[in-house]
Symmetry: C2
Subunit: 322 residues, 2 copies
């Protein structure tokens, strides 16, 4: 179906483009009769403005690029969903692309998005640091990056970071306050270390429980396969670096009749949806999704000259497993 244009509408009505435009944008100073005529014609021909043309002319856009490692990862998903709703409320729409940290793939995406989006929200797994050459690459494009969760300030764009320590500290503190004597931490994400230490440090030495560390890859399978070992240690509480691992552990516990939290309290990190579905439901540390997205939106709307750099705290969510 051929889309009708302003020009064509002008021809059909015998009026000028300017007048047609006035009517369709509901501006004043048009003779009522001519207005009616144009409106009628527009209706008959299903006139729909071409946003690409409008945006080009106005030098703006209503799309926001979202780059992430893997949207299927639940945390990204949660963030994306929340962000999408907020964007849409302001007439913006997310365009999504994958970014694994490779320069080649990024080049392609940014090329395709140039002139169509103005901002690109970059959310990667923590630990996947943006390489300086990638920043350099961004600088070449007319797209302003909003780096999310890079754990440091990247001067070429806006940076919104997440303080993982707060939620973890509260989680561990709760365990300590409730008298746990042997806490095991499973995983090897550096980002989980600080909160753990803070919780121990603020506890008087004589009340500090024993702390055991066990490395782990972060996957469900890994959590499941480490479960036997963790139980052997005789820990009465375990903090997993990821909900996935914690869920793997709970899976094993359910299979082997290990009582949680009676025999061992379990806390994860991420607040994935699965944590609410299992029995017992998983205590965890949640990302500051809403706060983060509000900040993203304000950047997109206000387009601040100066780079914005903010940090948002995580929070402990207690459920049944602890």
């Amino acid at each position: 179906m051929e889309q009708i244009t302003l020009k064509r509408l002008a021809e059909l009505s015998g009026l000028s483009i300017r007048t047609v435009s006035r009517v369709l944008k509901d501006q004043a100073h048009v003779h009522p009769e001519k207005r009616e005529l144009i409106l009628k014609l527009a209706r008959e021909h299903n006139y729909i403005p071409n946003m690409a043309a409008r945006n080009l002319r106005l030098n703006r856009s209503n799309f926001v690029g979202i780059l992430c490692t893997d949207i299927s990862h639940e945390i990204f998903m949660q963030k994306l969903l929340d962000l999408e709703i907020r964007l849409e409320a302001c007439g913006y729409y997310p365009v999504v692309g994958r970014f694994t940290g490779k320069s080649a793939g990024l080049e392609k995406v940014l090329t395709q998005w140039s002139g169509i989006a103005e901002f690109v929200v970059v959310t990667m797994f923590v630990g996947t640091r943006i390489h300086p050459s990638i920043q350099e690459q961004f600088r070449r494009f007319p797209l302003t990056p909003i780096y999310v969760d890079q754990d440091r300030v990247l001067e070429d764009g806006h940076t919104l970071n997440i303080n993982r320590a707060t939620g973890i500290r509260d989680a561990i503190s709760t365990l300590i306050d409730e008298g746990k004597k042997k806490i095991l931490r499973c995983g090897n994400l550096e980002s989980r270390e600080k909160g753990l230490q803070e919780a121990f440090e603020k506890t008087p030495p004589e009340r500090r429980p024993e702390l055991i560390r066990l490395t782990g890859t972060g996957t469900f399978e890994n959590g499941r396969s480490l479960a036997g070992k963790i139980l052997e240690f005789g820990a009465d509480a375990v903090f997993f670096d990821t909900d996935r691992m914690a869920l793997g552990f709970l899976n094993y516990a359910a299979e082997h009749g290990v009582k949680v939290p009676e025999r061992i309290a379990v806390i994860g990190f991420d607040d994935e949806a699965g944590g609410k579905l299992v029995y017992p439901s998983l205590s965890t540390v949640a990302h500051p999704v809403e706060e983060l997205n509000k900040a993203i939106l304000s950047i997109i709307q206000e387009k601040p000259e100066k780079p914005v750099h903010q940090v948002f705290p995580t929070r402990f969510i207690r459920r049944m497993s602890s």
Copy 2:
């Protein structure tokens, strides 16, 4: 940062736009020296073509709208992720928007997407039928809808449907073949009925198990709260209309020490990721995600004149719960 344009590059080099364009598009017939000069200038000024302008001129686009009820729903998520990868491989990117079936919200989205995307993939929950007035609305926009899973043919666009019966029939047949005597089906989705009946009908009357029906809302909570009742019925197998419900049941079973599948076999529908995480892992019926998305891609690439109407079968995935 001001983006440099072809025009400006032409001024700077003292050559014409045409020549600059030739060089930048790597076309022949340009004097090597001039080529070098332009290339140098382009590099220095970070020339990046404006896709909005290019697409406008070429009357095409590299964005595909995706409308769905709720991307956070895992099934949508799985489909979206797979589709995104396929699209990106061909230089297309998904623009996502929410669509709850309301005409007002749709109007806004379609308006913003007109001229920017050419196709809109519409995926709603089954049972949420597209109202004719919505189809009418689509017709007014220069966007071709690709209706997914509407369980019937909508003539104003392409329709790709899912045959739920195949997977469900296989699932139930397995239960029957393995000697289950009392099968309970829980849920009230009409779309789950056919496969169930097919399985019973192809079984000789004397071997047909008893069939009990129980309505259910489809949620995790609902599955959990119906568990007691289901067990009281003395069913030795239960098919849930959704994995969510099945997971709720398994959660209850784990809590109360009910052996699955020994005492009761459990099968869900949807193949959500959570089904692999629980213990015992959930047998389920999977959507034809890849096949569906391949079809979507081929429509987008080939832009067939005639509406495409296809149906894809679901399939049974056996895990530990049955």
